[in-house]
Amino acid sequence: MRTSHKTIFLRTIFLGTILLSMIATLVLGCGMAVAQNTGVASGYPVKGGDLTPQQRNGAGIYRRYCIGCHGQYGDGEGENAPYIDPKPRDFTLAVFKCRSTPTGTLPLDTDLIHTVERGIRGSNMPSWLPLSDENREDLIAYIKTFSPRWKTEKPGTPVEVPAEPAVTAERINAGKEVYKRVECWKCHGMEGRGNGPSAATLTDDLNRPIVPYDFTTGYRFKCGITDQDLFKIFMTGLDGTPMPSFGDNIKPDEAWDLVFYLRTLQPVHSKEREIAKQMGSK
């Protein structure tokens, strides 16, 4: 069957129209996407300006994963922030809970990378383990552009974590004494349930209510799960929260004692808990 000239003409017009509409929409879409990527158009613009290639990569990752909570300016005012408790971190202050550096100092990049990998217990911040190491490094490079502190200050010197001693009943008892002496109980309660006499009055640096950690409900801490992580929390504090650094108040050996004692409060099987049972305590 021969196709008439009229049919060919109509088909050409039709297919031409389709092709042109695809091209036109594509050009429009590309233009808008480029504009949004460079912070020109509406939607989710990211910070432009003088970004290094690594920071620029990080900006793309931030836009994809983080902007909903931490906001386009990194101020923790993302569209979901009103519905989240605890509130997302404000990167413009460059104050971070989980560090290996002394209180008041900037963290190491590895501290921030570990936080991204691990997530933050008790918050909406998930573990971003599925991201590649490269992605996390790029992301941290971009997050550091939100605060001028990163241009004028260097990260602190990491707190030394001495080798972990063997756990003994004496050390657990000593840890209990440290818990009383430095008044951990005032916030965390005598049994570590987070219900100390000061618990209801605590606020963070931005004057928002905050609750102390309840040791009896889990095995993960905000800044990790290992004994070394817990040791670091005592010595560095959780900046931005009422949890101070005890680096000047307790010796490293006492910090290990405290670690062993707090492990006995947790509802998971551990050497410390076994020893505590033999001692006749919980």
Binding site: M1, F14, I18, S21, M22, T25, L26, G29, C30, M32, A33, Q36, N37, G43, Y44, G60, R63, R64, Y65, I67, G68, C69, G78, E79, N80, Y83, I84, G119, R121, G122, S123, N124, M125, P126, S127, W128, L129, P130, L131, S132, D133, E134, G218
Partner: protein
């Protein structure tokens, strides 16, 4: 010109068209609302998952933090989302047999176009408790309003505290190399994988389709970083149909894969999968009507494939090779208790499928797709058939532009063109070409 050929070619096209019409697609803003993450956190471009989204899914729709159990959600939170795509599309079907006024037939190209709707997916999913998750997807047909259940399953996650043990029960998508429920194309021709839906010419009665959700159980496991994965399923031989319409047999499916992170490129994954199963070839009858569930004369089939999913920064390419085979009785639509009815030269059908699907994710808001699939018969159901009868070549290109990227809902502008050539399948033995052009707004909320 033979009428069986006409009907078979029609079946082949119909299988594609139907697969495109009723496709359930998973992009669930309810998760984004629950966790406060933008769609782009889990989707490279929704509904295609990225590695974070795949891990989230494999963890049982859990981020594995303290907010997973529903008891920690706002009491007004309802884990439900909906998705539909109003669109305009153009369809062209070449060498279609048409009756003439004189009582004969002729072949014409049938073109049609107009505004249309996809089915409406109601997506409810999440956790019933920590480490117990569910997925329920009623889907409404836009034509007659009938509701079907695309998915309905409960999953026990991280049994004994191990991500290697997750047990699913109900109706679910088989864990395969490419998810048809997360397909990035919609059109009648391009909206289904030939890899999963191809039916060889010859009246093959095997209704198994990897792309259809199946009823059964699945044991699935993965490493903490989700790089190593396995899934083993035991499913009823009903291709997801309820009411036990066929026999009493089961199909088995196994899929294993391993991913490698390559610096500067991304996550590369390779894997292998296979399905073996049985289908009845005849039923018992009562009063001339087949008795449901009385299928007899089971005969076997299998599908086996290998694949690679390769990332080069923003570009990714999935390559799948699959070999498929159906028993001679299935391939020739013959009852196994009547072997004398097999036509001369009858034999099992076998074919190979290659799928190449590339994406370029310019940003979470602009996504390009191109796909080429080819199906080559390696053994025809009838020895007398031309060796290339029924071979397919399907080419699809398109893009999606997401107008915004929020954690509440999603809206995408979608354009796509797909064309398929099937060899020698017209009534006059000509190649048939079908083409689709599709554009519309895809939204989920």
């Amino acid at each position: 010109m033979t009428s069986p050929r006409r009907s078979l070619a029609g079946c082949l096209l119909l299988a594609f068209l139907c697969a495109g019409c009723v496709k359930e697609a998973l992009a669930i803003p309810a998760f984004a609302r629950k966790y406060g993450l933008p769609c782009s956190a889990c989707h490279e471009a929704w509904p295609k998952l990225n590695s974070f989204g795949q891990t989230f899914k494999d963890n049982g729709y859990q981020l594995m933090n303290e907010r997973d159990a529903p008891i920690y959600q706002n009491a007004s939170y309802w884990p439900i989302a909906m998705r539909i795509t109003p669109h305009w599309h153009f369809e062209s079907a070449g060498h279609t047999t048409v009756d003439t006024t004189g009582g004969g037939t002729t072949e014409q190209t049938i073109n049609t176009s107009g505004f249309d709707l996809t089915g409406i997916d109601i997506l409810t999913a999440g956790t019933l408790a920590k480490n117990i998750s569910f997925l329920l997807v009623p889907s409404i047909d836009p034509g007659d309003g009938t509701v079907g259940f695309e998915s309905a399953n409960v999953r026990f996650d991280n049994l004994w505290g191990s991500p290697w043990l997750n047990f699913k029960f109900g109706k679910f998508e088989l864990d395969g190399p490419l998810s048809e429920k997360r397909m990035m194309t919609f059109s009648n021709v391009g909206g289904a994988y030939a890899l999963y839906h191809f039916v060889p010419v010859g009246g093959d009665t095997n209704d198994f389709s990897y792309g259809e959700n199946q009823l059964g159980v699945e044991l699935m496991g993965h490493s903490a970083d989700d790089h190593s994965r396995y899934a083993a399923s035991l499913i009823s031989s009903t291709n997801g149909g309820t009411g036990l319409p066929g026999g009493r047999s089961y199909d088995g499916n196994l899929h294993i894969s391993q991913a490698f992170l390559v610096p500067h490129l991304g996550l590369q994954r390779i894997g292998a999968y296979g399905t073996v199963g049985l289908r009845p070839t005849y039923s018992l009858f009562s009063g001339g009507e087949p008795i449901a569930g009385s299928g007899r004369g089971n005969r076997s089939f299998y599908r086996a494939g290998i694949y690679g999913s390769l990332y080069i920064n923003k570009f990714d390419l999935a390559v799948v090779y699959q070999h498929a085979s159906d028993n001679v009785f299935l391939a020739n639509a013959t009852a196994a208790n009547d072997p004398m009815s097999l036509p001369a030269g009858a034999r099992g059908a076998a074919w190979n499928t290659f799928t190449f699907e590339g994406h370029y994710t310019y940003s979470p808001q602009l996504f390009f797709i191109g796909r080429y699939e080819l199906v080559r018969m390696s053994q025809q159901a009838l020895a007398s058939n031309p060796s290339e009868l029924g071979n397919l070549d399907v080419f699809t290109i398109g893009y999606r532009y997401y107008l915004f990227m929020h954690s509440r809902d999603g809206l995408a502008w979608h354009q796509e063109y797909a064309t398929m050539r099937s060899r020698l399948t017209s009534d006059t033995g000509q190649d048939q070409r079908s083409s689709s052009y599709f554009m519309g707004f895809d939204f989920a909320f």
